[in-house]
């Protein structure tokens, strides 16, 4: 079964389901097809169990327990859909709605950004409570070009802060203040450019509400964009990313969901935000050769390679192999780098080769 070792079984809603000891009840329940809503859960992060959306009934436990952190043990009996669990979800969703706006009608801000809406809709008719207007501070003076924070939408799930600490290792943002005033902050509420933030955008990707959002303007509602999976060209790692496309134009870039690709849902600032060049008028889209008059003119690949080969050979003949040096770009893959040093050593007989990421 999935190549995994299932030594035990637990009961979920009356069905016996194989599980590994120590696995979270959430993982087992989802494998069994049970619906357990989550907001603060991200498989890349240590469980925080603070959003309380995933609480389930577990036999022998007086209190409802968070499926995301409760560990499977032999014979555990779990109910994910009892009247008590349903009432809990309904009231919890009502509480969230008293404190948080939904990103309804707003342009799509982040891939997971509609999780709160999904939770609230599935929780059934809500109890109408007066809005509480928690005094959560934003960072109005933060003029970084990429990442915005809208405290009105934030549910304090701490996915962004845990991501920044546990996955990206930047520690640029953290929960600050206490109680009703709790918010996400940098040191002193400074802009991200004045923090250790590397603008990786992982906090945006993991945010379940759209509170942490991609600032680049987009007027497209969720569902209007087509996603095209591709490989990032900025370096040799090979991160997968999704181009969000409309009418043949890349509108934005998002990371594939965690667990699907080698980059596990992570990207860096270049892969995520540096896509403006794609449709830029100055972008080179074909080889260019300099004419006798010194001007660059479009050409073909065979002619361009021919020109390079001739030039290299000329230098070698005149000054010897030691006069040549080969430097490859960090955008190249390992295989490409291998080929380049092969060219240097085997064809031109020099050890003068270097890769810019080698130092």
């Amino acid at each position: 079964m999935n190549g995994m070792n299932h030594d035990i079984s637990i009961r979920i809603d009356g069905h016996s389901v194989p599980a590994r000891p120590g696995e979270s009840v959430l993982d087992v329940a989802r494998r069994a097809g049970a619906h357990v809503p989550t907001l603060c859960h991200d498989p890349r992060l240590e469980p925080a169990a603070v959003c309380r959306s995933c609480l389930v009934e577990i036999e022998g436990q007086a209190r409802l327990q968070p499926a995301c952190s409760f560990q499977a043990s032999p014979g555990l009996v779990v109910r994910t859909d009892s009247p008590r669990v349903r009432k809990h979800r309904q009231v919890l969703a009502s509480l969230y709605m008293a404190d948080h706006r939904l990103a309804d009608g707003l342009p799509q801000r982040s891939p997971a950004g509609s999780s709160l809406r999904g939770f609230a809709k599935a929780a059934g008719p809500l109890i109408q409570l007066h809005p509480v207007h928690s005094p959560r501070a934003g960072r109005p003076g933060d003029h970084n070009p990429y990442i915005g924070f809208d405290p009105g939408l934030c549910i304090l799930c701490a996915r962004c802060t845990r991501y920044c600490d546990q996955v990206h290792g930047a520690g640029a943002i953290a929960l600050a203040e206490r109680g009703r005033a709790t918010t996400v902050s940098t040191n002193g509420g400074a802009g991200l450019l004045h923090s250790s933030c590397e603008l990786c955008g992982g906090c945006v990707d993991t945010c379940p509400t759209g509170a942490m959002f991609d600032k680049k303007p987009s007027h497209h509602l969720p569902g209007q964009l087509r996603r095209v999976r591709t490989t990032c060209g900025f370096c040799g790692v090979g991160c997968q990313l999704d181009l969000n496309v409309k009418g043949g134009r890349v509108i934005k870039v998002t990371a594939p969901a965690p667990g699907q690709t080698i980059n596990d849902g992570n990207l860096c600032v270049k892969g995520r935000f540096a896509y403006d060049f794609i449709h830029h008028q100055d972008r080179l889209t074909q080889p260019m050769l300099r004419d006798g008059d010194g001007r660059l003119r479009p050409s073909t690949w065979p002619r361009a390679l021919e020109r390079v080969a001739t030039g290299l050979k000329r230098v070698q003949e005149r000054w010897g192999s030691g006069a040549l040096g080969f430097v490859s770009s960090s955008r190249c893959t390992s295989e490409e780098n291998y080929l380049l040093q092969k060219l240097a050593r085997a064809v031109f007989g020099t050890n003068n080769c270097h890769q810019c990421a080698a130092t």
Binding site: S69, K87, D99, I127, L156, Q166, R178, R180, N187
Partner: protein, 509 residues
């Protein structure tokens, strides 16, 4: 991510010593400790004694101080041009109404409350002569750990911090852990409104506490003893430090360390306490694992309340059975704090399971005609006088949806409107919620705002939905604070429905 070899546990101390919080100070502490600046900022801003430093007096807005006239004290301060800030209960309820100065010493307040008269047959005996002979520690060493454990088990000692969990079970759990590095933590963060018994123990009988700690540490095999003292109790810490410094040989081999609280009630919760000791935001952790398994720095940790520890010396000297026999419905004697509408507020050591009337007898009787009482601080909600002859014990009160908790008994007479009193307690929980989990963070706001709206407008419609919200807080909150934070409202509504009728809103005196 913190730097390798980061010294996170220093963060709060460095901030405390440095003065006014600023981003520049935070950067300096980042350089000193290796903890990222955002986290230091976020941690500092969690604690009110670090984030709000000013020359203003701290005026208590707790229920007991309200009953005793904190409003008049506020008016008096305004008249004299003394700036003040209203804060959560300061643990000086016997002296209500109270205001502290910048050094966190009482500036305005009555004389300290009464305690039970000296009686050598009381297990703690606050009024007795403190004794640094460490005879009980010697006795424990003679008996050996397993006999000590049996003695504690025979005594029936339950934790006095609120939950009433059997002490011996926690000791055995710590001893069963493989890790040779273990800790004992003394929880002296006493913050439950109406409670000031731990303060009195530490001030009057420091050696009872220190000896109790030494016995616990020796029995469970812990080398380090950490004493976490509420930040607003500087005298308590100074007194204990002095007492420890004055002891020679008897404590050799034990490393005593002090950690100061920085103004957050939630840090009394044991996992939040551990977070604070590690230099983090005082947000409770998910249990399991329990501190006995994964505690301070991930190592097995025995956390006990001051009073629990102070019971140990007499248990060892006079035997488990003797201690058990001191109780009425449950084992041992208990320190009951009593404030509000009684003549002699104070701390009284009585058999566990006495009634409210027994207790108030000790405290000189009721002031006016009693109407309601909290048996154990804000967390226990309110009970009507029809329950005045119920035993004040752990199990009996839990059965009726209340709790003995810290035994901070507050008495209210018929001048008090219970919707107003519920609002008062709701303000406390809203201010002190750590804000980590949604049911408590949002629920405490919904409750407080609805009660305030009801009292302002007199329309019961303002309270719509509160039953469901209270249910959810109790069912789904991550820690004990959120679980009980709706009790003042639910109990007041249940026992005093008349106070929730349209337009009934006289003020608390």
């Amino acid at each position: 991510m913190e730097r390798k070899n980061a010294t996170r546990e220093q963060v709060l101390l460095l901030l405390e010593q440095a003065g006014e919080l600023s981003p520049a100070l935070v950067r300096q502490v980042e350089r000193q400790t290796g903890v990222p600046e955002a986290e230091i900022w976020g941690t500092a801003r969690f604690y009110s004694l670090l984030s709000e430093r000013s020359a203003a007096l701290l005026l208590c807005r707790g229920l007991t101080c309200k009953l005793a006239g904190s409003r008049q004290l506020a008016a008096h301060l305004e008249q004299r041009g003394e700036p003040y800030r209203s804060v959560s209960c300061l643990g000086q309820c016997d002296r209500a109404p109270v205001a502290l100065d910048q050094d966190l010493l009482v500036r305005h307040g009555r004389a300290r409350g009464a305690v039970s008269p000296d009686d050598p047959d009381l297990p703690i005996n606050l009024a007795g002569q403190d004794d640094a002979s460490f005879a009980a520690l010697h006795r424990a060493r003679q008996l050996g750990p397993s006999a000590v454990l049996d003695t504690i088990e025979a005594s029936g000692l339950q934790g006095r911090g609120g939950a009433g969990f059997p002490a011996h079970a926690k000791w055995r759990a710590v001893r069963a852990q493989a890790s040779p590095l273990r800790h004992v933590v003394c929880n002296a963060d006493e913050g439950e409104p109406g409670t000031f018994k731990d303060r009195e123990i530490a001030l009057r009988r420091p050696y009872r506490l220190i000896e109790g700690l030494a016995i616990a540490a020796w029995t469970v095999g812990a080398g380090t003893i950490h004493i976490f003292v509420r930040g607003e109790f500087p005298r308590v810490r100074a007194g204990l430090e002095q007492a420890i410094a004055a002891v020679g040989e008897a404590l050799s081999g034990l490393d005593f360390r002090f950690v100061a609280g920085h103004g957050a009630y939630i840090c009394g919760e044991e996992t939040a306490l551990i977070q604070a000791m590690e230099g983090r935001r005082g947000t409770p952790r998910i249990k399991p694992p329990f501190p006995t398994q994964v505690g301070l720095h991930g190592q097995p940790t025995l956390v006990h309340n001051v009073e629990t520890l102070a019971c140990l010396p007499s248990i060892l000297l006079r035997g488990g059975e003797w201690f058990r026999a001191q109780g009425r419905t449950e084992p041992g004697s208990k320190l009951y704090c009593v404030t509000g509408h009684v003549h002699r507020p104070g701390v009284y050591e009585l058999p566990l399971g006495v009634t409210l009337d027994d207790l108030v007898d000790q405290a000189g009787g009721y002031v006016g005609s009693p109407r309601a009482f909290c048996p154990g601080g804000a967390s226990s909600g309110f009970l009507p006088m029809s329950m005045r002859d119920r035993p004040l014990d752990f199990q009996g009160l839990a059965r009726i949806g209340s709790m003995l908790g810290s035994a901070g008994v507050v008495v209210m007479n018929d001048t008090v409107n219970m919707a107003q009193a519920a609002l008062q307690q709701s303000i406390f929980f809203e201010d002190e919620s750590c804000g980590q989990c949604a049911p408590c963070r949002i629920g405490t706001q919904v409750l407080r705002q609805a009660l305030a709206r009801f009292l302002a407008e007199g329309s019961p419609g303002a309270l719509n939905g509160l039953d469901s919200v209270s249910w959810e807080m109790e069912q789904a909150s991550l820690c004990g604070l959120g679980m009980v934070a709706s009790r003042p409202y639910t109990s007041a509504r249940r026992y005093f429905p008349g106070d929730f009728q349209p337009a009934s809103s006289p003020e608390v005196s």
